[in-house]
Structure formats: structure tokens, C-alpha cells
């Protein structure tokens, strides 16, 4: 196999300039309609989906269950053909290949599964060797490559263990090594961390991110968890009922979610929220002598500035911080603060105007007595 002759490391520059690199995956007006047996109404799983994924990019595709994620996975790896439109992976129009050519083409896409899908009858090393055996690689070469991959995912010691003797995180490391065995251009992760606990999820995501940096593989993360996307994706695509409703840089999607579905995902992942005690007392109308609850989102160049202190000085208003957090998304700080300020129309207007002047967004969540 020609692809196996490539060195393990690809130039790092590929990963650093994803926007300019040529697309590895190109979905052109892809529509998939299923005609279920027994029922008359056809189901549109994906409608007119167009998306380019550049080489070395980590793209998160997020959607609720039933949004069309599974169909999209099977279209990208060529196990399903679109009703109309084209799926192009690494320059090959996957949607037009005959089955035998499609099988060869699938080797340029490595898949990582939610439930690992490892063979219980094979050791860690044996599982990683499977795609190489299928591709007809010589035995000696398989051994070298398997050792290399075990090292890459940090499982050299566990090479002769069976899946039943490995933890969930270790199993997924085997899954990732197996997916990378044939040196694919694309690593397609289908809910790869959804069966893992949060700590292991973090480790697996860091591993995926590190692998992208080291070998320049393009990563597609299909998930229903915004936290996964937030952790490592460069770019996000939001699927909703078969439609691609929003795409953009991860940070932009978080800072300025456009679609209602995106907002729901962002809200679900925000760790900053009002305590229930306060939420139940919240009123829509201002209350004289009461307080107003404001959410301020810090992003952009002023995210790390001491905004509240300055605002307090310039307006003479005393802020009461209810909840606050600063996190890093795509390497950029993103702050989320909930404050309470004594109600007066003028005060609130002044605060919102000054925040807007700094390029920060704020939102009145409600009023309390």
C-alpha cells in the first residue's frame, strides 16, 4: 500500500493554517432520503447539506439525536450513498464509486466508535493490526506499524491485553490507534467519548488533539455534547433536523450563537447559571427598590480586562457577582458573569451602553425584589 510508505509525521504547518488548506472532505448539496418499509412518507435525514472540511482541521458536527448525525457519518465513510449531491473525500467522489473501489477508499477514513467496537477475541495489538491485515499489508510491516501506533496512544505496555482487561479510556485509545493504522487522511469520530466519564473524555480529546498536531490528520467529531466540541474543535457545524443551520469558528459560535438550536447547545454547556433560589424569584418586570440580574459575556480583546471594577468606578454602581467563570475556547478566553445591580432604568442603560462600547454583550435576565 502506497499510503503506508508515508512518514508518520506530516508538516506542522498544515495544522496551523487550516483555513487556507484544500478541503479533504467536501459535501456538495448532499440530500439523503430514506423510504421506510411499510410507511408511505419518506424521511429526509439530510437536506441540501454543503460543507467543506480543510486538511488538518478539527471540525465538530453537533446535533441532537435524530438530527442526521449517523446518516452523515455513513455518508462520509461511504457506507451510505446520498440520494442527491456529492460526497468527496480526499479528491475521490465517494458517492459515485463501485462497491469494490469504495472499500479501498474507506481506508483513507479511520473511524472511532462510541462503543469502541473492538474484537473481544483479539488483543490490543491484534485489534490495531486488523485494518492492516484487511488492507493486505505484509506481516513484518504490520508489526512495526502496530508498535508505532501503540506508542502513539500510550498503550505499549498493554499490547497483549484483551479488551475485557482494559478500561473504557484504554479501549478507546486502541480504537483510535486502529483507526489510524492505515494512515488515513480523516479521523471520523462518531460519539467517540459519549460512553466515557468526563475525566476520561478529557484525556481522549487531548489525545485526538495531540495526534492532529503531530500527524496533521483531519478530525471530524460527531457529537451531541457541546463540551466535546468546545474542548478541541477549530470549527463547529450545527445540524438540526437534517439541516446544517450554522457553521463557524468554535469561539464565534459560542460567543455569538445565531440559531436557536445552537443557543440551546451553548446554554446547556454553560456552567455559569443562577442559583435556583434566585431563579424562582425572578420577575419579568422591574421592581422599584429591587435589583436587576444581568448576564455579561466577555469575549474578544477585553475578555481579560478588569471590566467590572472599571464600570463600577465610572458609573458609581456597586455590582454584586452571583456567578462567574472564564474558560478558554479555541485558545481564547470567554467570560460569563451574572451580576445583580440596584434597579434604575438609567443605571441599566448606562451599563449596557458602556459594555456595548467595549464590544461585550449583556442581557437582562430578570428582576428581583
Amino acid at each position: 500500500m502506497n499510503a503506508l510508505a508515508l512518514p508518520l509525521a506530516r508538516p506542522a504547518s498544515v495544522a496551523s493554517e487550516p483555513a487556507r488548506a484544500k478541503p479533504v472532505i467536501r459535501l456538495e448539496a448532499v440530500t439523503k432520503i430514506f423510504q421506510p418499509r411499510g410507511r408511505t412518507a419518506p424521511v429526509t435525514a439530510l437536506a441540501d447539506l454543503t460543507l467543506d472540511i480543510a486538511e488538518g482541521e478539527i471540525v465538530g458536527i453537533i446535533g441532537r439525536s435524530g438530527a442526521g448525525k449517523s446518516t452523515l457519518v455513513r455518508l462520509i465513510n461511504g457506507l451510505e450513498k446520498p440520494t442527491s449531491g456529492h460526497v468527496i473525500v480526499d479528491g475521490v467522489v465517494l458517492s459515485e464509486l463501485a462497491e469494490s473501489d469504495a472499500r479501498t477508499a474507506r481506508r483513507s477514513i479511520g473511524m472511532v466508535f462510541q462503543h469502541f467496537n473492538l474484537l473481544a477475541s483479539r488483543t490490543a495489538a491484534g485489534n490495531i493490526a486488523l485494518p492492516l491485515e484487511i488492507a493486505g499489508v505484509a506481516e513484518a510491516e504490520i508489526k512495526t506499524r502496530v508498535d508505532e501506533l501503540l506508542g502513539l496512544v500510550g498503550l505499549s505496555v498493554e499490547r497483549d491485553r484483551y479488551p475485557s482487561e482494559l478500561s473504557g479510556g484504554q479501549k478507546q485509545r486502541v480504537g483510535i490507534a486502529r483507526a489510524l493504522a492505515t494512515k488515513p487522511k480523516v479521523l471520523l469520530c462518531d460519539e467517540a467519548t459519549s460512553a466515557l466519564d468526563p475525566e476520561t473524555t478529557g484525556q481522549i480529546l487531548q489525545l485526538i488533539s495531540r495526534i492532529r498536531d503531530e500527524i496533521g490528520v483531519t478530525v471530524v467529531l460527531i457529537t451531541h455534547e457541546m463540551a466535546v466540541v468546545k474542548a478541541i474543535a477549530d470549527r463547529v457545524a450545527v445540524l438540526d433536523e437534517g439541516h446544517l443551520v450554522e457553521t463557524g469558528a468554535t469561539f464565534e459560535i459560542f460567543a455569538h450563537p445565531g440559531h436557536e438550536s445552537t443557543r440551546a447547545f451553548v446554554a446547556a454547556t454553560a456552567k455559569v447559571d443562577m442559583p435556583d433560589v434566585l431563579r424562582t424569584r425572578l420577575e419579568a418586570e422591574p421592581i422599584a427598590g429591587g435589583a436587576t440580574i444581568l448576564r455579561i459575556l466577555f469575549s474578544g480583546p477585553h475578555a481579560t480586562d478588569p471590566i467590572l471594577a472599571r464600570l463600577s468606578r465610572s458609573t458609581g454602581v456597586e455590582f454584586n457577582i452571583i456567578a462567574a467563570q472564564v474558560e478558554f475556547i479555541g485558545g481564547r478566553p470567554f467570560g460569563n458573569i451574572i451580576v445583580s445591580v440596584p434597579w434604575s432604568k438609567q443605571t441599566i442603560d448606562t451599563i449596557q451602553a458602556s459594555l456595548q462600547g467595549l464590544g461585550l454583550s449583556s442581557e437582562v435576565l430578570g428582576h428581583v425584589a
Binding site: 467496537n117 474484537l119 477475541s121 486488523l130 484487511i134 484483551y162 475485557s164
Partner: protein
């Protein structure tokens, strides 16, 4: 018991082991691919051939529903074609094989159907051909379960082999009928039954041990 009877017992044990051993081997040789085909050829499966699946399934069912003793006599012309004769221990292997192959096929089929469909999906995503999926994924993953099923098939064969005395097949069962029953020798009958119990018991224990060794699913640490 006279030395003559002891000799007969040893000889009959040898005949049983020979008939059961060879027909189990041949039955597996035919049954394994047949079972693998049945497990993967329904519509929408990796080797989809629904018509062939239905035909082979029907033949398998027909063979399995024919009482063994009827099968033995019904296929006498076929036995003569294969073995050159329809009488004797070697000739008895033909009906024993024909009875065990469909049984083994169904066992293999159900074992393969228990394999996690996610593994088929993973292998397909790797670009595996249907044959590669059968050889490298389905059979190895189902092997422990197949081994248990084969044990069951061998035990059934031991029981079937008692009936081939009808065509001069010999063996322990035949000895029990001829000496123990027809000649009123209860001690011979007892020895035959105890020998058969010991044989079945050791086959079962060996099969269980092998299946346990092959099963990597539940082992920890």
C-alpha cells in the same frame, strides 16, 4: 464377562470413536461454511442472497426434521455411491455426516448472529470484503460459542451412532442392543451405558474447557 465380550467392548468403543470422530469432522467441514452463509445472506446482510438463503434454509430444515433412522435407510443409494457399500462402520459415516452438517450449520448460524453488529460496521468501515468479515471478524468472535455448539453436536452424534447398528455400523450402542438386550446380558448393557456416559461426559468437559479458554469476553485481570 468372557474375554471375548471384553474384546467386543473395546472394538465397539473404537468403532464409535471412529464414526463419531470422522462424521463430526466432516459435518463441521460442511456445516461451518453453510452456517456462516446462513448467518450473512438474508436481505440487507453482508453476503445478501435471500433466495439462496431460503432454499438452503429449507433443505437444512428438511434434513433436520427427518428422524435419523429414516434418514439412514432413505439415503442408502447415496451412501453406496459415496462409500461403495451401504453396510458397515465406514458406510455409517455418510448418514451421520449428513445428519450433523445441518445441525452444525444452525449452531454456527446462531453463534454468528450473536456477534455485535457494531463489529461488522467497524470492519466494513475499514474496507473489509464480506469474506474478510466472515473469516477475520465473525468466526473468530463466535468461536467460543461455536465450540460449545459443536460439543452439543458431538454428543448428539454419539447418540445417533447407536442407531447405525441397523445398517451394520457397529459401535457401542449396537453392542448394547445385540448382547445386552437380545442376548439378555445385563452386565454388558451396564458396561455399554456406563462407557457411553463416560464418553459424553468427557466430550462435554473438554468442549466446556476449550470454550472457556476461547472466550475473552468475560475475563478480567
Amino acid at each position: 464377562m468372557s474375554p471375548e465380550i471384553v474384546y467386543q467392548l473395546i472394538f465397539a468403543t473404537g468403532q464409535t470413536l471412529y464414526m463419531v470422530g470422522v462424521s463430526a469432522l466432516l459435518g463441521t467441514l460442511f456445516g461451518l461454511p453453510l452456517g456462516a452463509f446462513l448467518a450473512t445472506s438474508k436481505s440487507g446482510e453482508i453476503l445478501a442472497a435471500p433466495a439462496a438463503n431460503a432454499v438452503i434454509g429449507a433443505v437444512v430444515n428438511a434434513t433436520r426434521s427427518t428422524p435419523f433412522i429414516i434418514l439412514v435407510v432413505a439415503i442408502i443409494p447415496f451412501t453406496r455411491l459415496i462409500a461403495g457399500t451401504s453396510i458397515g462402520t465406514s458406510a455409517a459415516i455418510v448418514p451421520l455426516t449428513i445428519a450433523s452438517a445441518p445441525f452444525i450449520a444452525r449452531i454456527v448460524e446462531s453463534s454468528i448472529r450473536e456477534v455485535d453488529p457494531g463489529l461488522i460496521e467497524a470492519a466494513r468501515a475499514m474496507g473489509a470484503t464480506p469474506m474478510q468479515i466472515v473469516r477475520k471478524v465473525l468466526i473468530p468472535e463466535a468461536l467460543s460459542s461455536i465450540t460449545l455448539g459443536l460439543t452439543l453436536a458431538v454428543v448428539s452424534l454419539i447418540s445417533y451412532s447407536a442407531m447405525v447398528g441397523a445398517v451394520g455400523g457397529g459401535g457401542l450402542g449396537d453392542l448394547g442392543i445385540r448382547y445386552g438386550y437380545q442376548r439378555f446380558m445385563p452386565d454388558v448393557m451396564l458396561v455399554v451405558v456406563v462407557s457411553l456416559i463416560a464418553l459424553v461426559q468427557s466430550v462435554q468437559s473438554a468442549g466446556d474447557a476449550l470454550a472457556r479458554k476461547l472466550n475473552r469476553r468475560a475475563r478480567h485481570g
